[in-house]
């Protein structure tokens, strides 16, 4: 008893072939979409790779690019097969490889589904990479004279302004590192000597943040230095002050930015997977309807189409038996026994 049996006459077959051909062209465009999304994500990761310590994983965008290319290829091929299915002569040359092609398509669809799941899961490793990268980046903020790190200040400032964030988790991260270069510190001044003497590493720590943390929506001019000292500024209470600097941390801001991008890509890849499953089923119907013609010489005769020739259970046992037979056949035979027999 076949799975989802449908009866076909010539008109229905032609309509089926046309619909599936049309769907294949949509699927080609969907493949292009997946490819371009992979490319876009790769470029976005590259743009901010400095903030991720240059060791972010490009596995997912590379996978998306590969899947997009393969999808374009097999959908174009499938479309050609559908187009030729209306002509029995042309279809005869595709017939032998169609079974293997369909199995390959099923495998590809499973892989596409796994890719979509990966898109949603990639958020987690990204979170760790971002936290680590930002922490290191902030330490190199002052090194504008060290080759290889001289642009870290500009990158961090630009990022804090673009993403409206400050520090790693919040603005207090800037209090724990020295972000003013030694070149601009007057070591003969008492205040500087006090600050350097106040901690073990001899770092110039201050309760201040760079200008890029400032929030333009604040009604008062930005307070960057002596932030924890209420008496240093008129009518200022650093516990209740909310609008002065950005309150969000940059790792949270970047994560939500990339997370949103990944969610969108994951949702789109899921939709593409559904489309691919649809065209695979369509092609299976085209193939089965053309191989069960009641009268092989008469193209106008009736036929049947199905998804699986037998029920799911029977097909599964068939596949298991085939695999067992193949396994037995590959063993070194003694006495000519154990010839692979297909049940």
């Amino acid at each position: 008893m076949a799975l989802m049996l449908v009866k076909f006459d010539l008109k229905k077959r032609v309509k089926l072939a046309q619909t599936v051909w049309f769907m294949y062209w949509f699927a080609v465009m969907a493949g292009v979409l997946v490819f371009s999304m992979g490319l876009f994500f790769k470029i976005e990761l590259r743009k901010r790779s400095e903030l991720m310590d240059n060791n972010e994983s490009h596995f997912l965008p590379n996978l998306l690019i590969l899947m997009g290319l393969i999808a374009c290829g097999i959908n174009a091929f499938g479309g050609k097969v559908c187009y030729d299915s209306l002509d029995p002569v042309k279809f005869a040359k595709w017939k032998p490889m169609l079974k293997n092609f369909l199995v390959f398509c099923v495998g590809f669809n499973a892989l596409l589904f796994v890719t979509a799941l990966l898109c949603f899961l990639m958020r987690i490793p990204l979170q760790f990479t971002l936290a680590e990268g930002l922490r290191n980046g902030m330490r190199f903020y002052k090194d504008t004279d060290t080759p290889g790190r001289c642009y870290m200040k500009r990158t961090l400032d630009q990022m804090q302004m673009d993403f409206r964030c400050c520090g790693n988790d919040n603005y207090r991260d800037w209090f724990e590192i020295q972000w003013v270069s030694n070149r601009y510190l007057d070591f003969s001044a008492k205040e500087v000597k006090d600050r350097i003497g106040s901690n073990v590493d001899g770092q110039y720590l201050m309760d201040g943040v760079p200008f890029s943390c400032c929030n333009p929506s604040s009604p008062r001019p930005c307070i960057q230095i002596q932030m924890t000292n209420n008496t240093a500024h008129y009518s200022y209470d650093h516990y209740t002050e909310e609008l002065n600097v950005w309150s969000r941390g940059c790792s949270e801001a970047l994560l939500s930015y990339y997370g949103g991008m990944l969610n969108t890509i994951g949702a789109l890849v899921l939709l593409v997977t559904l489309l691919e499953i649809g065209v695979t089923i369509g092609l299976q119907y085209v193939d089965s309807s053309l191989s069960t013609l009641a009268n092989p010489d008469d193209p106008e005769s009736e036929s049947e189409g199905w998804i699986l020739e037998k029920t799911v259970k029977e097909t599964f046992t068939d596949i298991m038996a085939k695999m067992k037979a193949m396994g037995k056949g590959s063993k070194v035979e003694e006495g000519g026994e154990a010839v692979a027999t297909v049940s």
């Binding site: 200008f211 008062r220 001019p221 960057q224």
Partner: protein, 364 residues
């Protein structure tokens, strides 16, 4: 002597009609492009409307949008005329409209040309508008508690950060304005009292700038306050420091931005003008060729297409006479009313390039 006449066989006529149909659809796309260009320009101008004093410059995107819409309609009509030109029974109904169509299409080309000219001519007006708008923005920077002006600070800060500029002409504009609100000044402090007393208006002026003037590309953390005091900061020279703040004034930055925008659209608009003119000329040829073959006894035979039936000078003279007669008709004058119909008849019979006369030609 006809101007620029060409022979048209039936096949050539059909080819011309098909080619023109495609060209007119291309012109429709161009019309859509011009409309969206105008829309984009207007959106960009409106985004910064808070730092502009007047809206004279808005005439450029307004004209672009109008012309875009009008050219979509005009070129769609042209494509319909092309389709009907292949069918002899349907073409005559367009004869009355074609003169008006030519006038409208030429007017559109002329308007597009004016837009290109205006976008250069109005630069001075834009500069003036920005000068006043930015001056006001800087003056009202501190008024974050005054309704109607409370967003000036945020606007100016965002503007300076986005366009990488500071002040109106340069950063010293901030030295002349009180940009710290009185709410955040401790009037009991000596320093503040000194500063307020140091000028006539009693304003708190300082040699400092807001944080949005800071240049991220500077190797040292941003110096915002006591900019003219070299001893206030270690290893600092006010005269030679270049990277600390943005050097550009916001007026120049905005003008460069808008002029760049309009210059980059210049070639696009010029090519749209070219396409529109070629549609006009091709339609003229098609009209005269089809009318010529309609007039012939053999509809499949050859006919001539031309741009003007008589030479340029003669057509001009004809037009002048016609306009004068039209004006005479407008006057209430019983004596000329009898003379003018006779005077205008011979002209009407000889001039079959106008739509008014076109309806009489099939009869003759």
């Amino acid at each position: 002597m006809r101007l620029l006449k060409m022979k048209f066989t039936q096949q050539r006529q059909v080819r011309l009609a098909q080619g023109l149909w495609l060209l007119s659809w291309l012109a429709v796309m161009c019309g859509i492009f011009v409309f969206f260009l105008g829309l984009y320009l207007k959106a960009e101008l409106l985004r910064r409307a808070e730092v502009m004093d007047n809206s004279e410059i808005h005439v450029v995107p307004n004209i672009l949008m109008m012309v875009g819409l009008a050219s979509i309609g005009t070129n769609w009509v042209a494509s319909r005329v092309c389709q009907d030109s292949l069918d002899m029974s349907r073409f005559p109904r367009w004869k009355a409209f074609l003169l008006a169509w030519f006038v409208v299409a030429t007017l559109l080309c002329f308007l597009l040309l004016t837009v290109v000219v205006l976008s250069y001519a109005l630069q001075g007006s834009l500069e003036e508008s920005l000068k006043v708008g930015l001056r006001n923005g800087i003056r009202f920077y501190k008024d974050t508690d005054v309704p109607g002006r409370c967003f000036q600070k945020e606007t100016i800060d965002h503007l300076q950060m986005e366009f990488r500029c500071c002040g109106n002409n340069n950063f010293r504009d901030w030295f002349e304005v009180q940009w710290v609100s009185n709410r955040y000044l401790d009037f009991t402090s000596k320093d503040i009292k000194d500063r307020i007393r140091s000028n006539v208006d009693g304003r708190y002026l300082l040699d400092g700038v807001p944080f949005s003037c800071c240049n991220p590309a500077s190797p040292r953390p941003c110096l915002q306050y006591r900019l003219t005091d070299n001893s206030a900061h270690h290893s600092y020279d006010y005269q030679s420091e270049e990277l600390n703040l943005y050097n550009r004034g916001c007026r120049k930055a905005l003008i460069d931005y808008y002029m760049g925008l309009m210059n980059s659209t210049g070639p696009g608009v010029l090519s749209v003008i070219l396409i529109q003119m070629s549609v006009v000329l091709s339609l003229r040829y098609l009209q005269t060729a089809v009318e010529g073959s309609l007039a012939l006894e053999d509809p499949e035979g050859d006919s001539e297409g031309y741009i003007l039936e008589k030479g340029l000078k003669e057509t001009f003279e004809d037009l002048k006479v016609k306009v004068l007669t039209f004006l005479k008709f407008g006057q209430v004058d019983p004596s000329t009313a009898q003379d003018s119909p006779e005077a205008s008849d011979p002209e009407k019979a000889s001039d079959n390039t106008t739509g008014k006369a076109a309806s009489t030609t099939p009869a003759s």
